[in-house]
């Protein structure tokens, strides 16, 4: 009897898919020749990360990632690119093959040593336990109680950004 995939198998497949989406997006984002394509890669990467959050049973975080990073940050970046209209990219000349091999080796060594440091030497904190069900009530309360300082600081940063944008926009205006 052919056994059909169970929901758990499907979930595993979906997890692999999400990881693939994240990695592909990241690779596009760093390798694209055109700026706008790099942003598209970033969007794909963010969608993948949101999928990972969802997979980790945190739908609120996943949707916030979609709303803020995909819906706001990336749209702002694309808009900035459209306004700035960067000149066509200068193609970087063909790199030396030996340089490529050397950089690959250096990268591999770095990655390996970091991985060893991370898995064997580092003092890992105890695995985090699920404190609560991650509902909006809990998140709201911890934002305004335990982490209210960080929350307020972030809002001050945003306020400064708005004021800065206003000052810059005002300075460019000519009185007619």
């Amino acid at each position: 009897m052919m056994s059909l995939p169970t929901p758990e198998d499907l979930a595993g497949l979906i997890f692999l898919g999400i990881v693939a989406v994240t990695v592909t997006g990241g690779i596009i984002a760093v390798n694209a020749a055109r700026l706008i394509r790099a942003v598209t890669g970033l969007v794909i990467c963010f969608i993948g990360v949101a999928g990972l959050y969802y997979y980790l049973n945190s739908p609120f975080l996943a949707l916030m990632e979609m709303l803020i990073y995909v819906g706001a940050v990336c749209v702002t970046i694309v808009f900035a690119i459209m306004l700035a209209e960067p000149e066509p990219e200068k193609q970087v000349g063909k790199q030396n093959a030996i340089a490529g091999i050397i950089s690959l080796c250096v990268g591999a060594v770095l990655f390996w040593s970091l991985a060893v440091l991370g898995t064997e030497k580092a003092m890992w904190p105890a695995a985090s336990v699920k404190i609560n069900d991650g509902s909006i009530l809990d998140i709201g309360q911890s934002l305004l109680k335990n982490y209210s300082m960080a929350f307020e600081l972030i809002s001050i940063v945003l306020l400064m950004a708005i004021i800065g944008a206003l000052v810059l926009a005002r300075a460019g205006r000519v009185k007619s």
Binding site: L4, P7, I36, T40, P59, L63, L67, G71, M82
Partner: protein, 371 residues
């Protein structure tokens, strides 16, 4: 009745798939289906139902739009293909699919191809959490309201990439307009929604509808005890959903008289079709959300009539009719008029509503308790 030779020519390639492949598929499904585990069955059924609902609605809303427009302009509208022109959307779909997918020289091909999908797919995803009745919901997510806004915010990215990728001046101008419009109207919309969440205490769409149980005076539209400005909040929400879906009088992104066809100028065939499916799916979602938040969802307006999904559909299609009605009645606004309306009228109003609601929700009970 002998079909027109042109009709026969168009339909011939579809005969083989329908006569041979469909029965094969159905037969295969009949044997395989019982072996599929229950959880996967539910996912598959929800998936197919959601996509079918979105696509069917897109097709028949085009028909409805043409009929409404025609009657407002004292015409009849489509009437040749089928009774009342009801088969018109099918024929239109076949026409769009059989057209050549033209990709002009000089476009950014990957962006050009992916843009229509970025408009349509998030819209279809949003249908997953919309409760048509208490049980008729594909996935009852606890943060459903947030989910719809999260996916709705991707829509504008599709327009932007499509406009920019087209490498066409009109498309780029349209995309820039669409972004400034979407950014401006997302603010009052989200403030209104935050106000609603302060009243409902939940982001679960099912629970929001259940809270409006009873007769129509229990709908949030008339919940004056929560905020005396509830009808105003509904109006702000409705106007913003018009603007967010780029509908007239806010359809500056596709102003035909100035920008050819706006961001989809360069799209042909199904590329254009997918953009339109996305637009209509977004209208359906906007109207559904208004019905869920303010008009009691599937709850019947009077207590002696049974609740059910028919009330939801009735209210939703009434709102969609209003959207079309507005489109064919009012002329397009200017870009400045549009931005002024948002920044100078809707945002202050929604902020006042937010303050008033927080006062009514938090301070008012304290005052009443003290006296």
């Amino acid at each position: 009745m002998i079909p027109h030779p042109e009709t026969r020519r168009v339909l011939t390639p579809f005969i083989l798939p329908t006569v041979v492949l469909l029965p094969l598929l159905a037969g295969g499904l009949y044997f395989v289906w019982p072996l599929v585990p229950g959880g996967v069955q539910r996912v598959l059924i929800s998936l197919v139902a959601v996509i079918a609902f979105a696509a069917g609605n897109a097709a028949y809303l085009v028909w409805l739009e043409r009929k409404v427009c025609a009657h407002i302009q004292r015409r009849i509208g489509p009437k040749e293909v089928g009774p009342f022109g009801l088969i018109q959307p099918v024929v239109d779909g076949i026409k769009l699919m059989s057209k050549q997918l033209l990709i002009p020289k000089g476009v950014d091909k990957p962006l050009f191809m992916v843009a229509p999908l970025l408009v349509l797919v998030p819209a279809i995803m949003s249908f997953v959490t919309i409760p048509f009745s208490e049980d008729l919901v594909a996935r009852n997510i606890n943060v459903g309201l947030l989910m719809i806004f999260a996916f709705a915010s991707v829509n504008v990215l599709g327009l932007l990439l499509g406009g920019w990728g087209s490498n066409n001046k009109y498309a780029v101008i349209a995309a820039a307009r669409a972004v400034s419009q979407n950014v401006a109207y997302e603010i009052p919309m989200l403030i209104t929604v935050i106000t609603m969440v302060m009243v409902t205490h939940t982001l679960n769409l099912n629970e929001i509808v259940i809270q409006q149980d009873g007769s129509f005076w229990n709908w949030y539209l008339f919940r004056f005890s929560a905020s005396p400005l509830m009808p105003v909040a509904f109006l702000i929400f409705f106007i913003c959903s018009l603007a967010e879906t780029n509908r007239a009088p806010f359809d500056l992104g596709e102003a035909e008289s100035e920008l050819v066809a706006g961001f989809h100028t360069e799209y042909s065939g199904m590329g254009f079709g997918v953009f339109f499916m996305g637009e209509y799916a977004n209208i359906v979602i906007g109207s559904s959300l208004a019905v869920i938040l303010f008009l009691g969802g599937w709850q019947s307006p009077v207590s002696f009539l049974a609740d059910g999904f028919w009330w939801f559909l009735l209210k939703m299609y009434f709102l969609i009719f209003c959207v079309m009605w507005i489109r064919w009645t009012y002329p397009r606004t200017t870009l400045w008029g549009l931005l002024n309306l948002s920044w100078k009228v809707l945002i202050p109003l929604s902020l006042i509503n937010l303050l008033l609601t927080s006062f009514m929700v938090k301070v008012w009970p304290l005052l009443m308790g003290a006296s």
